[in-house]
């Protein structure tokens, strides 16, 4: 096995092009488990910890956040908790402090697990993945990034450079079901975002299909009903029946399996409940907020689901 440790982004891309079978490792919270348990013996490890460009996030002129693939969950929580509330809520549910100090959003995407905690939040926020190789850069919506269980659109010579996320114009929520509060892989998870500027709803289903996936039909249904009833403007309470029907349609968008963490039936039920609650909590926040929720730099939301 080789240990490749580029010290710049350009060198990292050249190294990946020269060693397409090298396994990228950032925080190691997935990769090292596979090595420790002899589940994987890659020809080489490509350590991305020494690539400074990956450890940075920045705000573009239009306000959009470019989150370097190597930014840890701890930093997302500490530095972007108010700007990207949905992602920060998901980040707080990741593992333990030790894991959040090492694990990265880019690594979560690279592993492409259906249970990745950041994925539902990224889906609901309509985030995009910036992918690069020596051939150039391309941008892929998160909804198109995953192709199967632990599979993505990444080509062998490509690396994840960053995630691009527009800070929300409305409230976001993240819910996760597990056997306890800390240190759990999701039995199922749900990300939700209200986009009042676009009069749209964002959704993300985790751990209840071969890939993380949005629930576009449910989202269009809820956004349409909100529009038809004039609720975006009146900010009247969300009708309970509407929230319940939204939950049912989110459930119908999932395709879970029975496994050691939970049954398919439980996952479907949990999703319908999480979606109903997330929509209700977010709508309640929208009713009382001034519309630029999350941009005050102070994270005042609870991650508890």
């Amino acid at each position: 096995m080789d240990f490749l440790a580029p010290t710049s982004w350009a060198e990292a891309l050249e190294t990946k092009a020269a060693h397409p079978d090298a396994l990228p490792v950032a925080g190691g919270t997935d990769v090292m488990v596979e090595l420790n348990f002899d589940h994987r013996r890659p020809a080489a490890l490509l350590d991305l910890n020494r690539v400074p460009e990956l450890q940075e996030w920045s705000r573009a002129d239009d306000g959009r956040i470019r989150l370097g693939a190597g930014v840890t969950y701890s930093r997302v929580i500490a530095e972007l908790g108010g700007t990207l509330p949905g992602l920060a809520m998901a980040a707080r549910t990741v593992g333990s402090p030790q894991i959040r100090n090492r694990g990265t959003v880019g690594g979560n995407l690279g592993a492409a697990s259906p249970a990745g905690d950041s994925h539902p939040a990224l889906l609901a926020a309509f985030a995009e993945v910036e992918i690069a190789s020596v051939r150039g850069t391309r941008v892929v919506p998160v909804a198109d990034f995953f192709t199967g269980v632990k599979r993505s659109v990444l080509e062998p010579d490509e690396l994840i450079a960053a995630v691009r996320i527009t800070p929300p114009a409305g409230p976001q929520q993240f819910c996760k079901i597990g056997t306890r509060n800390a240190m759990v892989i999701a039995v199922s998870a749900f990300g939700f975002a209200l986009h009042p500027d676009r009069r749209e709803v964002g959704t993300g289903i985790g751990s209840a299909a071969p890939t993380p996936r949005p629930a576009p039909e449910a989202a269009a249904f809820l956004a349409g009903e909100l529009e038809a009833a004039g609720l975006w403007d009146s900010r009247s309470p969300l009708p309970e029946g509407l929230a319940t029907e939204f939950g049912r349609r989110v459930r119908d968008a999932a395709a879970p399996i029975d496994d050691v963490r939970g049954s398919a039936a439980y996952r479907l039920h949990a999703l319908s409940v999480m979606a109903r609650r997330a929509a209700t909590w977010a709508w309640d926040a929208y009713r009382t907020d001034d519309g630029n929720d999350g941009n005050d730099g102070n994270d005042h939301r609870s991650a508890a689901a």
């Binding site: 190691g28 919270t29 420790n36 490890l45 894991i99």
Partner: protein
């Protein structure tokens, strides 16, 4: 491969490190520092917690090569000379140790918590220790020790 790193303030090097080897293995088997414990090897138990450039991490999930040139602090580096760190002393005095296997990890997580937050609430203590498992104590004595260490640290 060879790695060079600073461990507990001392420059150390290790040869014949396997490229897929964990920092935990290198510390225990190559550098003679068995304080960090090897249990789950998947980041669940926290027994291998060390500081990497001052940040608590599970050393089982850090590739040894990733620690090249960096500063590592293990439980062996907590005490100053013959004096136990106040956190270690509190664990002794409160009986927060039974089999002792998880203790190094708890000490490292507690020390980090108190450096960031000298007067933590109980929920903050629980959150800070969420990545450390103990199968003996039921945690109550450990929580007592953290509170006691916080009281001493603040004095």
């Amino acid at each position: 491969m060879r790695i060079e790193l600073t461990v507990n303030g001392t420059r150390r090097e290790a040869d014949d490190v396997w490229e897929g080897e964990s920092l935990l293995y290198a510390l225990r088997e190559r550098l003679g520092l068995p304080g960090s414990k090897n249990a789950c090897e998947q980041g669940e138990c926290g027994s291998c917690t060390v500081y990497l450039d001052g940040t608590p991490v599970c050393s089982c999930l850090v590739a040894a090569g990733q620690a090249q040139g960096r500063e590592v602090t293990t439980v062996e580096g907590l005490r100053e000379g013959d004096e136990l760190d106040p956190v270690q002393q509190a664990f002794v005095e409160k009986g927060a140790v039974q089999c002792g296997f998880c203790t190094p990890g708890f000490l490292m997580s507690t020390k980090d918590l108190l450096q960031r937050n000298p007067n933590p609430s109980d929920p903050e203590i629980r959150e800070a220790l969420a990545g450390n498992l103990c199968r003996c104590t039921g945690y109550e004595k450990i929580l007592d020790a953290v509170r006691a260490a916080a009281a001493v640290t603040q004095r």
